[in-house]
């Protein structure tokens, strides 16, 4: 389903809007309303964050959302139940740290697929770090999406691209998740270096918060991922987060104009 989505976008000359939201944030009920609103606003893919007690790759906004979700008792099982209840028409990618996946047991990938999840992305399992567990994730029913960082040498980019499924997630800048005032000036170069060795669609995330940033990235990449900005807006209200997604969609579609 992820692949179909990207093929359709490519055929239409459009860029993907990938929206991140932490499962169970602001609370379980509004979490579902938020996801449905994001779909309506034009999101192509929903990344569902699995709450974790020690999110070392996340900045303050997503950390706080993870804590709030845990306080509501939402863990991986709860996240899957919410996905099943939301009945979304767009592909869903789980965004998790490794430990909650390990704790959930070997059948968790099957259970996730049954709940309506299409892909999985693991923040702390880089390519080559653990062949056995990477095979478990890669050979299961979900598309195993891999990450590339600005520090990744091009040879390694090629290796990551070979292992990836669905799309490649390019981290725009050094650091943890969070909004940035400015995109790194060498981002187009980084995208070009990756593009040269990668047949999969490239989505760029970390730091993207405004429509004009989405548009700028859309000129080079196949999609943008927006996380902290949506979570922060959802702290205020679901409507605010949905309006932001709508504005991002418009910004991104303007990229083709």
């Amino acid at each position: 389903m992820l692949t179909d989505r990207f093929s359709a976008l490519r055929a239409g000359g459009r860029r993907a809007l990938v929206c991140y939201a932490t499962a169970g944030h602001p609370d379980p009920v509004r979490s579902i309303a938020l996801w449905q609103g994001l779909e309506e606003a034009g999101a192509d893919v929903l990344e569902v964050g699995v709450p974790f007690s020690d999110p070392m790759a996340d900045g303050p906004v997503i950390q706080a959302s993870s804590q709030a979700a845990l306080a509501h008792g939402v863990t991986l099982d709860g996240a899957l139940a919410l996905v099943a209840r939301a009945r979304l028409g767009i592909p869903v990618v789980l965004f998790s740290y490794l430990n909650p996946l390990l704790a959930a047991g070997p059948d968790v990938l099957r259970r996730a697929a049954d709940a309506g999840v299409h892909g999985v992305l693991v923040t702390d399992l880089p390519v080559g770090s653990d062949p056995e567990r990477e095979a478990w994730l890669g050979d299961g029913p979900l598309a195993f999406v891999r990450l590339v960082a600005p520090t990744t040498p091009q040879e390694r980019m090629a290796e990551i691209a070979r292992h990836g499924r669905g799309f490649v997630y390019l981290i725009s800048r050094l650091g943890v998740t969070g909004v940035s005032a400015q995109l790194p000036s060498d981002l187009p170069d980084t995208i070009a270096r990756l593009r040269a060795v990668c047949a999969l669609p490239i989505c760029v995330g970390f730091g993207v918060s405004r429509p004009e940033q989405a548009r700028a990235i859309g000129a080079h990449a196949d999609g943008v991922v927006v996380g902290s900005a949506i979570v922060r807006a959802a702290d205020a209200s679901v409507d605010e987060a949905v309006s932001l997604a709508r504005a991002l969609r418009a910004g991104l579609d303007g990229a083709d104009a």
Binding site: D54, N99, A103, A104, P126, D130, L174
Partner: protein
């Protein structure tokens, strides 16, 4: 256990049996590769060894003494020997590793140093060597630990380090480590992260063990000279596990030497408030490696508790997890209240006030009367001195902390 077998589990591939590994964000992979290459080059370079050895001798004060303990030995019923890491400059074993890693950072051309600290001993050691080498130093420390270890916060700042309070989660070592990793993900091209124990992603557990192994190398030679034989048992406290790995490593192939690691049982192993990752944890991934971890059924890390800030950590170094499963080392635990007794006991009997961390190992040995024959020597790693803990212990109600 045969030599060959131990060698294959030496962490050269980043793993200790099933444990260890490198579970980090992609951004850090090139930084860890660079560190690994720099480490291999440094370990093979006589100039690095010469510089490190010289500073260990003249700045740190090594070799640290091996000291007999007649009155404590009489209490235990076996001769106890104390490896005096408390006599190092800055008062703990932590400086062995901090100094070596700072020299490595210089070789890599990285002049900004990041560290996490619990008790503050690793932070102080890192701030110290950074002052000596002219490096910028940023130390992350949980707010709760800053309260417990106020003096060490002052010492770090006095030496020019920036101490950043961490207010997330339990406000202790776990959260300080998470925050230090976040800094490193942002600054890795120009900063080096000096982890304070045998934890974290490969190559840290093996590297920190290498830099702490001098404790056991010296102690083994000193035991043969002074006691005329190897110890029957080697005992050390285990937080992340660096002083224990440091003293264990030289004895790993001496099958007759029992290796004992003492964890913090906090309010009791069944109270839910302890730091006994090896005794009560299950395998899981935290801070970049797979090891025993205090966690719940959904994989959320369970907050640790110990009266001692340096042991108050829900994980443990992966090599300890391996040694436990292989049966080569034995792990036991001591409560807060028992540790406070150990703290006082060594002061009263030997005129040595140990760190609260070390006091756990003291207390365990003190309770083993009858375990060893009168001619079976026991070697205790006195990982640090207790000055930093006197204020906390003297507070009313310290026993129930």
């Amino acid at each position: 256990m045969g030599d060959a077998e131990m060698v294959t589990q030496d962490g050269m591939d980043g793993r200790f049996g099933a444990f260890g590994g490198r579970y980090v964000p992609e951004t850090l992979v090139p930084a860890l590769d660079e560190l690994e290459r720099a480490l291999e080059a440094a370990l093979a370079d006589p100039a690095f060894d010469a510089e490190l050895s010289s500073m260990l001798t003249h700045y740190v004060g090594r070799p640290s003494a091996l000291c007999d303990a007649p009155r404590f030995s009489a209490h235990v019923g076996a001769p106890v020997w104390l490896k005096r890491e408390d006599l190092n400059h800055t008062g703990a074993h932590k400086i062995n590793n901090a100094l070596a890693q700072a020299l490595l950072a210089l070789r890599m051309g990285k002049r900004r140093i990041i560290a996490e600290t619990g008790a503050g001993q690793h932070g102080v050691a890192t701030a110290t060597v950074c002052a000596r080498l002219g490096l910028e130093c940023v130390v992350y420390m949980g707010e709760e630990d800053m309260r417990r270890q106020r003096l060490n916060v002052y010492r770090m700042r006095l030496m020019g380090a920036t101490v950043v309070p961490v207010t997330a989660g339990t406000r202790t070592l776990k959260d300080a480590t998470t925050e230090a990793i976040r800094d490193w993900v942002t600054t890795c091209p120009t900063s080096h992260y000096i982890i304070g124990s045998v934890v974290g992603p490969a190559p840290y557990p093996r590297m920190v063990r290498e830099f702490q192994a001098i404790i056991g190398r010296e102690a083994r030679t000193q035991m043969l000279e002074r006691a005329g034989r190897l110890p029957r048992a080697v005992v050390a406290c285990v937080g992340g596990g660096s002083n224990a790995m440091g003293i264990f490593h030289a004895f790993r192939n001496d099958a007759q030497v029992e290796l004992v690691g003492v964890e913090a049982a906090g309010h009791g192993l069944d109270s839910g408030a302890h730091s006994a990752s090896l005794l009560r944890g299950t395998p899981g991934v935290l801070h970049g490696s797979l090891s025993y971890l205090l966690q719940d059924a959904s994989g959320q890390v369970h907050p640790a508790h110990s009266i001692s800030a340096g042991l108050d950590y829900p994980g443990v170094g992966p090599e300890h997890a391996y040694l436990k499963d292989a049966g080569r080392a034995t792990y036991v635990a001591v409560t807060d209240a028992e540790a406070l007794e150990g703290f006082a006991l060594l002061g009263r009997l030997e005129g040595i006030i140990p760190a609260l961390e070390t006091a756990h190992a003291v207390a365990w040995i003190a309770a083993q009367r009858g375990r060893w024959a009168a001619d079976e020597p026991v070697l205790l790693c006195v990982s640090g001195r207790g000055d930093k803990d006197v204020a906390q212990v003297s507070e009313p109600g310290a026993g129930s902390a």
